[in-house]
């Protein structure tokens, strides 16, 4: 048995024995520490758990030592279901509105977090697609005698693909962090209505997501960086060969788009065109 399973079973057994929640928490903390100490001394997780003895004997020791009054509180905790239902119904206007409010806040936050994730994923996919479009641009350029335009598209596309590969670890890290934040937030909101074992499983999952910086093969990063540099070099070389001068863009006229002045710079020479847009 591993540590998490052991602690879950211990908590379940203590709950079934009507041990008050504060005691359940303290006991779980103590035994988790004991497992960690044994592992630190060289035992495997399974050996460490086994060395603690059976869950029944642990529970027996804790229950036998509890004052009668505490055991009474434990029983009250799990008390009369009919009474609980009536109380819940009578107080519905209070907790119902709070619950709806919390649910809406939770849903909004989750939606915002996942929109961010969707935007990042869209950017990443677009960068990869730009690479494929760049190759198509090069083929098209060669076939139609507009090699410079094709080479420029190829350079920019390859550079964006390289950027996507270089940003991959960051993407994975942010994705995992978003999952972690969503799960933690949901656990925080739902805790009063959640079984202890479900909460523990959720916490363990969130902790795995938090994990740390993802492992990405160095070769992949080197390939990404090479693509980024190669693409940038090709694009700059094409622009330089065409005699491109950035400051000439400022002379371009503006157009009115949705009530705002948009300066759409259009630069073209020998079949190579470049568009740059800015808002006023």
């Amino acid at each position: 048995m591993n540590k998490i399973d052991f602690l879950l079973q211990l908590k379940d057994a203590l709950n079934k024995a009507h041990v008050p929640q504060s005691e359940v928490h303290d006991a779980a903390q103590f035994y988790a520490e004991c497992v960690d100490e044994r592992i630190e001394e060289g035992a495997t997780e399974a050996e460490a758990v086994e060395g603690l003895g059976s869950i029944d004997s642990i529970v027996e020791g804790i229950v036998a030592d509890l004052p009668q009054a505490f055991r009474g509180i434990g029983r009250l905790d799990s008390g009369n279901k009919a009474l609980k239902v009536i109380l819940l119904l009578l107080t519905f206007p209070v907790w119902g509105s709070v619950l709806v409010f919390l649910a809406l806040v939770a849903a909004s936050l989750v939606a915002v977090l996942w929109s961010l994730l969707a935007a990042m994923a869209a950017f990443w996919i677009a960068c990869i697609a730009a690479g494929l479009a760049g190759i198509a641009s090069l083929v098209h350029g060669i076939a139609n005698g507009t090699g410079q335009a094709g080479a420029l598209g190829f350079g920019i596309g390859i550079a964006l693909s390289g950027l996507a590969v270089v940003l991959l670890p960051l993407m994975v890290y942010v994705c995992r962090w978003l999952v972690f934040a969503t799960v933690r937030f949901n656990l925080w909101v739902s805790r009063p209505f959640m079984k202890a074992s479900t909460y523990e499983k959720g916490s363990a999952f969130a902790a795995r997501m938090r994990g740390g910086w993802p492992h990405v093969p160095k070769t992949l990063l080197i390939v990404g960086l090479a693509l980024l540099l190669l693409g940038s070099a090709v694009a700059l070389a094409v622009l330089a060969s065409c005699g491109f001068e950035p400051w000439t863009l400022a002379q371009a006229p503006s157009i009115n788009l949705f009530g705002r002045d948009v300066y759409l710079f259009h630069w073209e020479q020998d079949g190579t065109a470049l568009f740059v847009g800015t808002l006023s």
Binding site: A27, F30, Y31, E37, R38, L52, G53, G61, I62, D65
Partner: protein, 104 residues
């Protein structure tokens, strides 16, 4: 009565261990004589009881990326040990009496 005696005796043993310095659960078990057969499941209720009666205090400290709970003997705990030590003569007499009875 037997378990009451044992409980009281084990409590004193834990206090005696902590009298040497602050310690944590697993280390307390390792420091106690093996003959006592102390285990985690025996120690935990004793620590809880000693804490509840104010004989020891606890504080959590960071250790290797996790929390380790250290226990410290309080003045009350030390007084308990002193009181026991003062009864040594009486305890020896009782023990001798019991052993003498067992030998018959």
């Amino acid at each position: 009565m037997e378990s009451q005696l044992k409980r009281g005796f084990l409590e004193l043993c834990v206090l005696a261990t902590l009298a040497h310095g602050d310690s944590y659960g697993y280390q307390i078990i390792k420091d106690m004589p093996r003959a006592l057969g102390m285990t985690e499941s025996t120690l935990y209720p004793i620590l809880r009881r000693l804490k509840a009666q104010g004989s020891l205090s606890e504080n959590a400290q960071e250790h290797g990326g996790r929390t380790r709970k250290y226990f410290t003997i309080t003045d009350k705990g030390r007084r308990q040990l002193d009181e026991f030590a003062q009864e040594e003569q009486a305890i020896q007499e009782i023990l001798a009496y019991v052993l003498k009875g067992a030998a018959k």
